[in-house]
């Protein structure tokens, strides 16, 4: 059952990225998010993992949640229209002490058959078609060599249910949710995934109404009524379609104040003025801190006046982002460097980009 309304929630978020590409199991990220148990209330938890399907790295990995397994044939019919299903299987789950019931999860590895330049758009279209058209089925992630695992429960229990200790990934992102009223639907948990983006978010976007209408202009249908969905689509639009690089997303999502832009020097001033003037509908107002995973990297960002917490840390070749320091110290007791993100700041790291190691990329914060 989908939530009919938008439900505000508080949250815990955490992420680990191995800058040297080393793969680790999900055990660490579970430990990290578990420390922040008090920030969630057992009504939603989830993980995104990158690098977990090396044998199918070129294929789209679709994780599909079936409240009604009978809809599988409808979903598969849609997938088959433009893709070949190379492999599919049920996602293995193991009963835990706290979770005895769960819906059916399947994964599909898809090869797209059409023209490569419209591949991503076609995948987005397919996801929208299934998620808004088929009741009882829901695509939770649709990227390559990555996947989202989520559900109703504390994140540590969800991690155990999906046996994440069996997977090996170079980047792991986790979310524990504290919705203000009971959300009994597994698809409503986070991370939110679209293509290879996965987004976890702590906060409430007061600009939601206009962000949603702004996205309509570009063909994105927000049917989940969650802030995270809106943020994911905006990231996809700006980065994939509008060629705005990640370090500059802060200039749009958490734009500096006009007064600060006024004081910038050219050409930076012109760039920021243009971004803010044109992308006013994409400004995210209200408290948020987010972690976004993408192929080969991860970034964190906080709102323009920093109303939600977020820390970044580095230890050897591992990059951490988290709502609380304890969640990082739990898995890396001694750190090379630890910083709190400033208002509007984006901190982004990519595998292999050692030159930026420990170096924060301040863009929109002044």
């Amino acid at each position: 059952m989908r939530d009919p309304f938008r439900i505000p929630s508080g949250c815990a978020v955490s992420g680990i990225l191995n800058l040297d590409g080393t793969h680790v199991s999900g055990e660490k990220i579970i430990r990290s998010i578990e420390v922040m148990h008090e920030r969630s209330n057992g009504l939603g938890g989830g993980f995104a993992a990158y690098g977990i399907y090396p044998e199918y790295a070129e294929l789209y990995a679709f994780h599909v949640l079936y409240d009604d397994p009978l809809t599988a044939k409808d979903v598969e019919a849609i997938l088959k229209r433009s893709c070949t299903i190379e492999h599919s299987e049920e996602i293995p789950c193991k009963e835990t002490e706290n979770i005895q019931n769960w819906p059916v999860f399947k994964r599909y590895f898809l090869r797209y058959r059409g023209r490569s330049d419209c591949e991503d758009d076609e995948v987005v279209r397919m996801v929208m078609e299934v998620n808004s058209g088929i009741h009882g089925a829901y695509i939770v992630s649709s990227g390559k060599n990555m996947g989202v695992f989520k559900g109703v429960g504390y994140p540590e229990d969800i991690g155990k249910l999906f046996q994440l200790e069996e997977y090996q990934g170079y980047c792991w992102i986790a979310h524990g949710r504290f919705p203000t009223n009971s959300a009994g639907w597994w698809g409503g948990a986070h991370p939110f995934g679209l293509l290879s983006w996965s987004v976890v978010h702590n906060g409430e976007i007061s600009s939601y109404g206009i962000n949603r209408r702004y996205l309509q202009n570009f063909g994105y249908v927000c049917n989940l009524q969650t802030d995270t969905e809106v943020i994911t689509y905006l990231v996809d639009l700006l980065v994939r379609k509008h060629n705005i690089r990640i370090p500059y997303l802060g200039a749009v999502f958490a734009s500096p104040f006009w007064e600060q832009i006024e004081k910038m020097e050219e050409p930076k001033k012109e760039f920021f003025t243009s971004l803010r003037t044109i992308y006013g509908g994409a400004l995210l107002n209200g408290p948020f801190s987010i972690i976004v995973g993408f192929p080969g990297g991860m970034f964190g960002m906080v709102d323009r006046i920093k109303l939600r917490p977020m820390l970044a840390a580095w230890k050897d070749s591992t990059f951490f982002l988290s709502s609380e320091e304890c969640a990082i110290r739990e898995i890396a007791p001694s750190l090379d460097r630890l910083v709190a993100l400033r208002a509007g700041e984006v901190i982004s790291e990519r595998v292999g980009e050692r030159n930026s190691h420990g170096q924060k990329l301040t863009v929109s914060g002044v």
Partner: protein, 506 residues
Amino acid sequence: MARSLLFPEFKIERDKERCIACQVCVRQCANDVHEGSDTEDTVVSQEEKCVGCQRCVNLCPTNALTVQTRKDGFRPNGNWEDRHLRGIYKQAETGGILLTGMGCDRLYPVYWDHLLLNASQVTNPSIDPLREPIELTTYLGKKEEKLDIHWEGDSPVVRTRLAPQLGLEVPVIFSAMSYGSISYNAFRSLAEAAREAGTFCNSGEGGLHPDFYPFGENIIVQVASGRFGVHRDYLRVAAAVEIKIGQGAKPGIGGHLPGEKVSKEISRTRKIPLESDAISPAPHHDIYSIEDLERLVFAIKEAINYEKPVAVKIAAVHNVAAIASGVVRAGADIVTIDGIRGGTGAAPQVIRDNVGIPIELALAQVDERLRLEGIRHHSSLLIAGGIRSSADVIKAIALGADAVYVGTAALVGLGCHLCQKCYTGKCNWGIATQDPVLTKRLNPNIGRRRLVNLLRAWAFEIKEMLGGMGVNAIESLRGNREHLRAVGLSREECSVLGVKAAGEGW
């Protein structure tokens, strides 16, 4: 001449104990209501002529006067209201169209009063405008759909040139009121206030007096069907040009400034002969279709070298959404929509009160339509017609407006008491008049200060409300109807407004 069947509309009470027969009221009333006596210490009043402007009441040093609406003694009749009888008596006596001033005063639903705003609680902190910046800065003009960015290494090179924009510090502009319909001092107050408050005023269709050219950066000039005072310098000196197709108070008809009002200065400003009637035809005689409008838009853009935005103003009529979409496609950088409650210096009462639709409904539909068509960013939306308070402003923005025009509210700020007699040229408050005795009553320095105060007060209130919603930049509220809920409206009205009913959550 037979005695008129009309009763006086107002009852004037003079407290004899207080009245000191100073004759201030006699001098203040341009309608010659009060009459003093050279021999006795008494003043008498002829109520028939009183328009209820409250000037004498306000200036009476001993507060001896009360002017109240007179209760007509007509036998109560649910169908025949007093106004119908009065209208018929007047027309039977004169044989003419009933004229009036200011906006529609009928009791049609005012949707602003059925919309309620949101505020943050617990899950989302509200923002205190005294501690944190809250931004009202607004840019009006075409926005590109996407920024064309080219990356040279890590540095962005922007290939998109932003279309010309009007930058406002408060999302409130003084609407079109021509010098002619209002006095020189009233216009001067508006222009100076616009400059000081970081916003704009609109010249109306009466040209621009040479004294106001230095205010060009804060003036939007109008090109209307009469083309009065339109020439190269007029277009070039302004911050933006607005083509006026229609006006909310009188959609579908033109305008008429009687020759008596065309004084030397006005004839100079409008470029018409002294004391000749200034008639604005109902349509522009070079615009009989949307393609013709496009041609005028681009002719003006050529004239101003594409350096400033061009706006097109239309009245809110039944098919306004489709018309607005056409206007956007015709190249307007700003679309101005004026609702049925929009003011006027003079209009036939039957038109003012019966033609057009409320701006709230028109705005909601236009914004939605432009978004559905994916062209909302091509133009900014400016709305006019019945904005009375900062609450109306913020609700308009949440419904989808980029900014609002205020006309009546500004004049009220200058002292107008809404007597609706602007068309008589005898405005006792020195606003809608050219009579030098009356215009002197409005000191433009005081006028400027009052208007700046008004905008400042509204800006504070808007910031308080925005902060309460947890929003610190006005663009995050624009078109954000999640922050609006409707009370006391039907399902159809809610759906036209695109707003949920109060009590419904997200």
